[in-house]
């Protein structure tokens, strides 16, 4: 059962908070954070997965609060620290009836550094290209248990491994619209009792200002309609030296949302809908991911 559930960790991994700054909702952009200033981002994340092809009829629920702080070391260098607080619950049928296995706590801490290598500014427009690199530290517990024993991977708050992360973000922003693209790769390290597979992702976002239609004086609040695309591939998990065929796979989400941007505050919401899921046999399928967040200029 444990192995069959491992693929779901990929889905639970989506509860990791994404990076701060106005722009795309589900991934990092290349927009600047002013030198010596910070942005705090809080995001409530709900993940639901089910459609279990096995007799266990598993259902996974992840509720998380993602906390991200971005700090401008210089106008080109930005540091990000992100950590989720997770509440995880897996319901499944067993010979003694339906049981719920759950855990909650701090997840893994992600630290990233981003550098702007390309900056083309014009009045009311900008083009930025910014690679980023960092790591994920195993701050979350990976050895939680209950009366039935050690909890399966999907309900462990942490991965137990040190992971390396690298990627690059491209942003084109004008007063009327913004487009972002990002590719990222996570090289997963060895955990205490399991090794997660690597992860590769390609994210795209388009935001169109729908209000105000015409700009007036001062700094009006902007309301954007958002459409994002998230293509996520994950390698197979290894436990005890054995690769789990039911783990890993590819998921493609389309994510419509809204974003309200003021001078000091961004309020945003998005629902990630899985359009394509090419997962291993016996893996749980994602139903949806919802994100509701706020970003505050400190």
């Amino acid at each position: 059962m444990r192995r069959a559930l491992i693929a779901v960790l990929l889905l639970a991994g989506l509860a990791l908070p994404q990076l701060a700054k106005a722009g795309a909702i589900t991934f990092s952009t290349a927009l600047p954070v002013a030198e010596g200033q910070g942005v705090l981002r809080l995001q409530l994340i709900g993940v639901r997965a089910g459609d279990d092809p096995t007799p266990l009829d598993r259902e996974l629920r992840v509720n998380a609060l993602g906390v991200v702080v971005a700090y401008g070391v210089t106008s080109k260098w930005t540091l990000f620290a992100a950590v989720p607080v997770r509440d995880l619950r897996l319901d499944l049928d067993t010979p003694v009836g339906r049981v719920a296995r759950s855990a909650s706590g701090l997840g893994d801490l992600r630290l990233l550094a981003r550098y702007t290598v390309l900056q083309r500014d014009e009045p009311g427009k900008t083009l930025r290209l910014a690679p980023f690199v960092g790591f994920e530290a195993p701050t979350g517990a990976d050895d939680r248990g209950d009366d039935l024993g050690l909890l399966p991977l999907p309900v462990q708050p942490g991965s137990g491994s040190w992971d390396a992360v690298a990627g690059i973000s491209l942003t084109r922003q004008t007063l009327g619209w913004e487009a972002d693209a990002s590719v990222a790769y996570t090289l997963a390290g060895s955990g205490d009792w399991f090794d997660l597979g690597d992860e590769a992702r390609l994210d795209l976002s388009y935001q169109h200002r729908i209000a105000p239609r015409k700009l007036g004086s001062g700094v009006p609040a902007f309301l954007y309609a958002v459409l994002e695309s998230n293509l996520v591939w994950r390698g197979r998990t290894v436990i005890g030296g054995i690769e789990n065929p039911a783990s890993g796979g590819t998921t493609w989400f389309l994510s419509p949302g809204l974003q309200y941007v003021t001078r000091r505050l961004v309020i945003e919401g998005v629902v990630q809908i899985p359009v394509v899921q090419n997962l291993g046999p016996g893996a749980l399928e994602m139903n949806w991911v919802a994100r509701l967040g706020v970003r505050i200029y400190l």
Binding site: E35, T126, V219
Partner: protein
């Protein structure tokens, strides 16, 4: 006997700060085009950086024009050299900077410079159109206080200039 230079330096610094505190307003307004500023949240970063520039009292941002309007605090002058630096530190590119400055006009060689009140600092006026050139020469007596509007620039050697578009005398 060797005297320490510290007391002399400290006294000189105190004297300079007292003089500076008594100086009337000099660069009283600055209007800065901020290239690359294209959303309200980004604008706030630039606004905070500009508000921290010495002498600045108020900062207003016009998103549509991509411009920040700075107003000097009463009795202070905006530290113009710090303005483009603040824009860059916010992650943007400074564009044209228009200022309104007050002081007295003095002749420097064949040209005219604006000497900021209460100091020996000058802003060289160049590309002065007619009839402002005639006005500049008429006021260049070192005593008449004038208000100059124009585009501010700083050369690599630190010399600051104004491409003046208007010069008018300020009644005593």
């Amino acid at each position: 006997m060797r005297l320490s230079k510290w007391p002399i330096t400290a006294a000189a610094g105190l004297l300079m700060s007292l003089i500076a505190a008594d100086s009337p307003a000099q660069v009283v307004e600055a209007h800065v085009v901020i290239e690359g500023m294209s959303c309200p949240f980004c604008a706030f970063g630039a606004e905070k950086k500009l508000a921290a520039v010495k002498g600045v009292d108020k900062v207003g941002v016009e998103m549509k024009e991509g411009r920040a309007d700075l107003t000097a605090a009463e009795g202070l002058s905006i530290d113009m050299a710090a303005v483009p630096k603040a824009v860059r530190k916010a992650g943007f590119t400074p564009g044209e900077i228009r200022i309104v400055a007050r002081g007295t006009l003095v002749t420097v060689g064949d040209g005219v410079a604006l000497r900021l009140a209460g100091s020996q600092e000058t802003l060289v006026l160049h590309a002065i159109p007619e009839p402002e050139m005639g006005e500049a020469q008429r006021f260049a007596d070192g005593t008449t206080v004038v208000e100059v509007t124009g585009v501010w620039q700083a050369a690599e050697d630190g010399k600051q200039t104004i491409e003046a578009t208007s010069i008018r005398g300020i009644p005593e």
